[in-house]
């Protein structure tokens, strides 16, 4: 299913989609095509991409690329798949109830979960908010642990 969506392997491509997309949510999935959980996530994203095409753009980013390493460090991506959201070149956060508010870690259990998250981010962005509450119940959010900085 990864073939259905555009995959970026260069930094310039990622910069362009973040900078030149206006009044739409940019969804960037960081992962690799060979990972099983990433495949599950990509499947859900590809099914929902058409339904949310009016207010969101979905793209995949390959973590094995050399140029993308800058973004992996900048975004503190240590677990894959990680999904990051941008609106008008501004990073959109969400309070998932976990320690990390900057990205969605793991795969969505259902297509509707992804649609609800993107809708909440879009509505909040149109009101001028940079961080919004997660509309999903706690059971639908994957659990994970993160270490303090470089420990």
């Amino acid at each position: 299913m990864s073939d259905m969506l555009t995959t970026f392997t260069k930094k310039k491509e990622v910069d362009t989609i973040i900078r030149d997309t206006f009044d739409k949510v940019v969804v960037l999935r960081f992962g690799r095509a060979s990972d099983l959980v990433c495949l599950q996530q990509d499947h859900i994203l590809s099914k929902a991409a058409r339904d949310v095409s009016k207010f969101a753009t979905v793209a995949l980013v390959d973590v094995d690329s050399e140029e993308i390493q800058v973004y992996l460090k900048y975004f503190d991506i240590t677990l894959i798949p990680s999904t990051v959201f941008f609106f008008n070149a501004h990073h959109m956060k969400m309070d998932y109830g976990t320690a990390d508010h900057t990205k969605w870690i793991g795969a969505f259990y259902a297509k509707q979960d992804f649609v609800d998250v993107v809708e909440a981010i879009f509505r909040g962005a149109m009101k001028g908010k940079l961080i919004v509450n997660c509309p999903l119940p706690p059971e639908s959010i994957p659990k994970f642990q993160i270490l303090y900085k470089d420990v």
Partner: protein, 397 residues
């Protein structure tokens, strides 16, 4: 001598009594209808200039009311029972109200009253008392001949209605009659009927009788001297709106025929001294167009994006830059290759800009470390013994 003295006394007494009587007579007051005042001037009041002015005004006002009655005298029109209450008439000479509740034609009772002997008697008495000119009596009366003609027309009208065959009101004979009417009565009766006498319903009623288009009739009405004027029918197709100017409300009898001829020519040519209605469209059509325009404008409006959304200012700047790039004015800088979005990191302590700067510092540190390692590796090898010898020489020396 004594007798003479007595006679003189008697004479003076009679004189005194006579003077007292005169005073009593002078103190009596009388009401003048024309001037609308109580005066103690006696019979000579009617020769005063103010009284004459008031009288002429009074009579001209009543003459205007009579013109309405004369219109129906020459052209009898059936009266609708609903409008009978409005078609009443007050005679100032007889001091009585004339109603048309039982009459089948308009102003029927009024016409009969004006021809009655009682009215003539009251009219003459009024003129004797208030000093009107004798030659004006005919203007306020209706002769028996006119009444007979009117009755014949009414009978003919009833016959037409009973037969059921509707003829055109205006024919060659009607034209002749109307022309004659103009010639005879034009100097004294203006061909203008103020709309105050006619309600809208009555106007529509008239149009139906005369088989005219109501809308066309209404559109031809004009406002003249503060009153809406309607002229009687001259042509079948449409009405002529025409106002006749009078000089000081008086007409000289010698020039009556001349002016009558003039008026006939004016009406026929259509270029009258007053205002002539032109073939303009009604004003309410333009208003409708304006309303439609406004409504269409409202529908055309479109929504705008919220100006408070995230990155609104950045979007505007970015779009301007893109336009410049298309024109070829500015070229993208190589610095953009190092561009990074403002990202709030996991362990963010300050603003997003600060987190980006922090990341850039970390990046620089890595580069420095790499360079230092390379430098260290490049150094040539120095054996321990060489170092000791050089060190010993230094220590001993």
């Amino acid at each position: 001598m004594g007798e003479q003295h007595e006679n003189e006394n008697g004479r003076t007494g009679t004189k005194n009594q006579h003077q007292q009587k005169k005073k009593k007579k002078k103190s009596e007051f009388e009401f003048c209808k024309a001037c609308n005042i109580n005066h103690d001037q006696g019979l000579r009041h009617k020769y005063f200039p103010n009284h004459k002015k008031s009288l002429s005004t009074f009579l001209s006002r009543f003459r205007k009311k009579l013109s309405d009655v004369r219109f129906f005298l020459n052209a009898p029109i059936p009266l609708n029972p609903q409008l009978a209450s409005r078609n009443r008439f007050w005679c100032v000479f007889c001091d009585q109200h004339i109603d048309e509740l039982n009459s089948s034609f308009a102003c029927a009772n009024a016409i009969r009253h004006l021809a009655s002997a009682e009215h003539v008697k009251n009219l003459k008495q009024f003129f004797w008392k208030y000093g009107g000119a004798a030659d004006q009596l005919d203007a306020f009366m209706v002769s028996d001949d006119d009444v007979d003609k009117w009755e014949k027309k009414c009978t003919a009208r009833k016959d037409e209605a009973s037969e059921g065959s509707r003829r055109t009101v205006i024919g060659p004979s009607s034209d002749e009659m109307s022309i004659r009417y103009l010639v005879q009565d034009s100097p004294e009766l203006p061909l203008v009927l103020p709309l105050q006498k006619f309600a809208l319903v009555q106007i529509i009623f008239l149009c139906k009788i005369l088989q005219l288009d109501v809308v066309a009739f209404l559109s031809l009405m004009m406002v003249d001297n503060g009153q809406v004027m309607v002229t009687p029918v001259i042509k079948r197709t449409h009405w002529l709106v025409n106002s006749l100017v009078r000089e000081n409300g008086r007409m000289v009898s010698g020039e009556s025929s001349h002016q009558g001829v003039q008026m006939v020519t004016q009406i026929s040519t259509g270029s009258a001294g007053g205002k002539v209605f032109s073939e303009e469209p009604p004003p309410w059509l333009g208003t409708t167009d304006e309303v439609q325009m406004r409504s269409s404008n409202k529908l055309g409006k479109s929504k705008k994006l919220n100006s408070k959304r995230v990155g609104a200012a950045w979007v505007e700047k970015r779009k301007i830059e893109m336009e410049k790039e298309r024109r070829g004015e500015s070229i993208r800088n190589e610095c953009d290759s190092n561009w990074l979005p403002n990202f709030g990191r996991v362990w963010q302590s300050g603003s997003r800009r600060e987190s980006r700067k922090e990341f850039e510092r970390e990046k620089q540190k890595l580069n420095v470390e790499t360079q230092s390692e390379m430098a260290i590796k490049i150094k040539p090898y120095v054996s321990k013994r060489m170092r000791m010898d050089s060190g010993g020489d230094y220590a001993s020396g």
